[in-house]
Symmetry: C3
Subunit: 468 residues, 3 copies
Amino acid sequence: MALVAQDLLFPADPASRSVARDLYAGIKDLPIVSPHGHTDPSWYAENKPFPDPAQLLIVPDHYIFRMLFSQGVTLEELGVPTLDGAPVETDGRRIWRRFAENYHLFRGTPTRLWLDYTFANLFDLSDPLTVDNADNYYDAIAAQLATEAFRPRALFERFNIEVISTTDSALDELKWHAMIRDSGWSGRVLPAYRPDAVIDPDFEGFRENVDRLGAVSGCDTGRWQGYLDAHRNRRDYFKSFGATATDHGVLSAQTANLAAGEAEVLFDRVRHGTADASERALFRAQMLTEMAKMSADDGLVMQIHPGSWRNHSPAVFRKFGRDKGFDIPTQTDYVGSLKPLLDAVGTDPRVSIILFTLDETSYARELAPLAGVYPALKLGPAWWFHDSPEGMRRFREMTTETAGFYNTVGFNDDTRAFPSIPARHDVARRVDCAFLGRLVAEHRLREEEAHELAHELTYGLVKRAYNL
Amino acid sequence: MALVAQDLLFPADPASRSVARDLYAGIKDLPIVSPHGHTDPSWYAENKPFPDPAQLLIVPDHYIFRMLFSQGVTLEELGVPTLDGAPVETDGRRIWRRFAENYHLFRGTPTRLWLDYTFANLFDLSDPLTVDNADNYYDAIAAQLATEAFRPRALFERFNIEVISTTDSALDELKWHAMIRDSGWSGRVLPAYRPDAVIDPDFEGFRENVDRLGAVSGCDTGRWQGYLDAHRNRRDYFKSFGATATDHGVLSAQTANLAAGEAEVLFDRVRHGTADASERALFRAQMLTEMAKMSADDGLVMQIHPGSWRNHSPAVFRKFGRDKGFDIPTQTDYVGSLKPLLDAVGTDPRVSIILFTLDETSYARELAPLAGVYPALKLGPAWWFHDSPEGMRRFREMTTETAGFYNTVGFNDDTRAFPSIPARHDVARRVDCAFLGRLVAEHRLREEEAHELAHELTYGLVKRAYNL
Amino acid sequence: MALVAQDLLFPADPASRSVARDLYAGIKDLPIVSPHGHTDPSWYAENKPFPDPAQLLIVPDHYIFRMLFSQGVTLEELGVPTLDGAPVETDGRRIWRRFAENYHLFRGTPTRLWLDYTFANLFDLSDPLTVDNADNYYDAIAAQLATEAFRPRALFERFNIEVISTTDSALDELKWHAMIRDSGWSGRVLPAYRPDAVIDPDFEGFRENVDRLGAVSGCDTGRWQGYLDAHRNRRDYFKSFGATATDHGVLSAQTANLAAGEAEVLFDRVRHGTADASERALFRAQMLTEMAKMSADDGLVMQIHPGSWRNHSPAVFRKFGRDKGFDIPTQTDYVGSLKPLLDAVGTDPRVSIILFTLDETSYARELAPLAGVYPALKLGPAWWFHDSPEGMRRFREMTTETAGFYNTVGFNDDTRAFPSIPARHDVARRVDCAFLGRLVAEHRLREEEAHELAHELTYGLVKRAYNL
């Protein structure tokens, strides 16, 4: 059997397990609210069939190909496209077999749980995947993907998704979102404002991007005030499509709050490409604070995702480009780094900032103490490498006692892998029920409180935190 | 029911729980030894009734008001006094209601456990606190506080406190301690020497404080040797009131051990206000080592509490002052920082230094290895944000295997909240019994050893470590 | 009874315990593969009886004497030799009694488990050690050590050691290994190449060491290319004795990859003693990368053990020398530090580098993400202070979800304490079975997979990772 037991992820001791099971029964069928992810809005707009099993499940999933790569499988064998068009494997069945013969590598990982769940619940394949049944798997999945019931909109409805947010460049015209809106389909797909390309002077094409920002906004992005106005304009444009949040991927959580004149001078240097590395970092730091101030005005919730050293291997980056599994967490400071921003808006009741981390040492030491006192701060869920049973358990164990449950915001699936969305939410729900079950069994929480909290962690908090 | 089950905090599996329960039965009624805390000695000296429930339990407790503030309740609504006297809520009942309607925010926090324990065991209120019974709670607590049985000395005796230490400025004349001593009351209330105000050049009024230190000690604090003599004089004065320990709150654990001439020059610069930031930090570092050397001579146990970024929000600090929940932990180094001090006295059998941390990453990496070899070092218990069930469990899991149990020093309640003292000790006792119960159930410790250890962790170690 | 229960270290809940017990039954009798340790090859070569119980078990074991020292027992009382020959206790029985009367200090530590296992299983002493039976213990152990059955080779066979690696200076002529090879004894004892003395300019006698390296290799170590050739020569020499690995103890994981000309200039400065501290650090960094490049050519597996501040107490170092329990872990960076090396060989399929840490914060944040993508990297087991039940559990919990099981390499006992080898492997096997048992009980792994994994973690992975 695939790993889809009724008691999956519940504590082994009968007392905790029994409570966890009851809690889960009360929330497992709640709709999915997905406020942060990377699914492609064109899927919902065009509603075309998904491609073959390998192209859907293996080739775009960096969790999968990074593990295989670490054990000697080349990215070419897995069909990952090269930047220069050098040939890679294109036969989905061969890619699938290569994956199947290495499926044991995922033992003990969340990827394994997501895949087993998806195989069993979405594709009705509950024998464990092996080399021997790889072709059967491939054929069964391919056949189902060709049917109407497996088109994106049908799956969206089947997955019971109440609302999903995509992540979109500040320069995006949001044509797919417009197409979805105009289609009459009832699915709620919202954009989120991700301005890295026009905020980070080290982003590829930054200066051209800022030019384009001027063009799409009708503001003079050659000047600091015009540049800020352009952001305001685009944020409003995103809001008009239902956006409720912005998203900021940054190497560090460093913020700054310069006097207006200083910021202007800094912008001019950045704009003309004469800023040095520390000035470029300072500009990024300043822009986090500017975005927070705009949030005070327009109410968009701000998400900060710091701490990933992107594209760690230059060889892989040159050959295959971004997002190839070589984004590695680094040590991340929050207490000092966020201070300028917090001094500006940390106690402003109009501001809501959700903090994420890849550095778990900050949970108990920095993030929970900060979120447990600043009204503007909340804690995002366990993220990326920590979106896993042990990672989510540690998140609760290390944040709850200082920040409580109510300074957290439910779950983010943060995924490009559309078919895995129900699996990811299911794992999160189970881990939260397991944690609550233990608290009840240890008499640290009354059972009726745990039921309320299970509902909040699954549904209530995310709706309120993201204004959804 | 409030969270006061017989098996509170014991592991859910029956084997571990059964051992934990037996261990706890053996130590739960041991007297409380409280070697480090912040209760007000005037309470025991004057023995006046405590004020209304809100003024006793809510207004002074930064654990409580920081959580409420983080969720949008203002400090004014909670009656926290402003520095400039701007009006705040003074109606205790209204403050209490505001607290009661937000009591769910504390689910999963130690504050909740302490309060439920206190409500049930001290005030005989065991229905869970809600908006609906908030007034009943208020009235019942207020009525009891007005009785003789709830005066400070009566509670001290009811709580079975064998000895408690307050924390007192080096400049304090200890008049309340004198009044207690002269009153004939048998309660043992000791001072502890806290010289931050005369050691830290960045402390408000540092230079005047050092003048006053000269006046109260009769030493010439205009000179380095006189200044050191003044400390020796005050330490002796504190010892004459039964003090057995000193306490040092510092941003970092940095120490130094300058040649006498260098220290003298540094003192002169600090004394005349001409030291720059790095010299002021060096002076703090030097003074930790000086205090350790004095401990070698006079036998006072030295406590070092590093790593808190005090008053992180300038807006709150300006309006409400210190200790308003905005003290945030930071990353803390010990291995390099303590080296000068350890080179000086680390293997001196006369010296005993108790180290605390707000940075749990140092437990297994630095503190346990240091305390597991240096005779002068011992580990203070899980502190502040980590004085919680999960925090105390992590402390044991991450220190015991390298430092053992015998390089730890029992529990510190570290509290201003007098009524919560029994609750805090009870939680610590339960968590230790739970940890020991697991070790026995996993056959890592014999049951009779666990009984001995439970007694040591509750009573023996603290008595010996603090010479009480 | 000593702590040798059948269910030692298995989870207390019956479901997990039952699986753990079954898994353990399947692997407990597998041979010991010990790819990294510090036993003395002369033992196996000469096969003389071991000395008295104290000289065998107490005097050389820094885990033991550091704990006793931390509680006020002097190293002299424990018979630890002084560098200047100042007298120390030489009566083994007195040393043993001192140890026995303090045996309670080891409660909760792995040392206690290793010793109880060794007493019971090797010496048939299963009453707990106390002051009262200390002499009986001493006599019984001494009597057995005098017999043929307790000679090194007999124990090697009794311990079911399939292969063991020692750790040997690059300058070592490997005469004991030659003697073992030529003796006709079937025991497999391999050397490992440890070049710290000729790579670290701060090592005592570095320049003379490099001279000797020239002499033993016949290469001109006065020149950069000759120096590199000398390493190649010695690595080949070690390989001719069966070595499959190199080992590198470094303060930091810093690496560099200089252009050839720059490296040559740097070498000249280091060679002539004119390099400053940062140049000496750069040389160490460069040499890690050079060693990795040589591994690509000759196939020796590279082990990197960073992060220990050696000889932290200068007083103890001056009196007693190295390895006296004063090696303290420090914070360790990998993501930035290893980048130059990884840029050079991180995706080279011929390279295999095993990373260790004393800084557990790097497990989930850095090491698992790095090993989970770079083909050249694998994770060494929980090391030194973390070679303990809780330490090994945290290792699995913090690495498995990102790196999987297959990017780990089984267990290293890393010990000088020959009699403790079976105990250490037994603890590791039990902790792994406990972890796997929990995964099965929580339905995160199928039971047959857990059996396969238990075999891999005990035997398969170490054999493959070290090419044994």
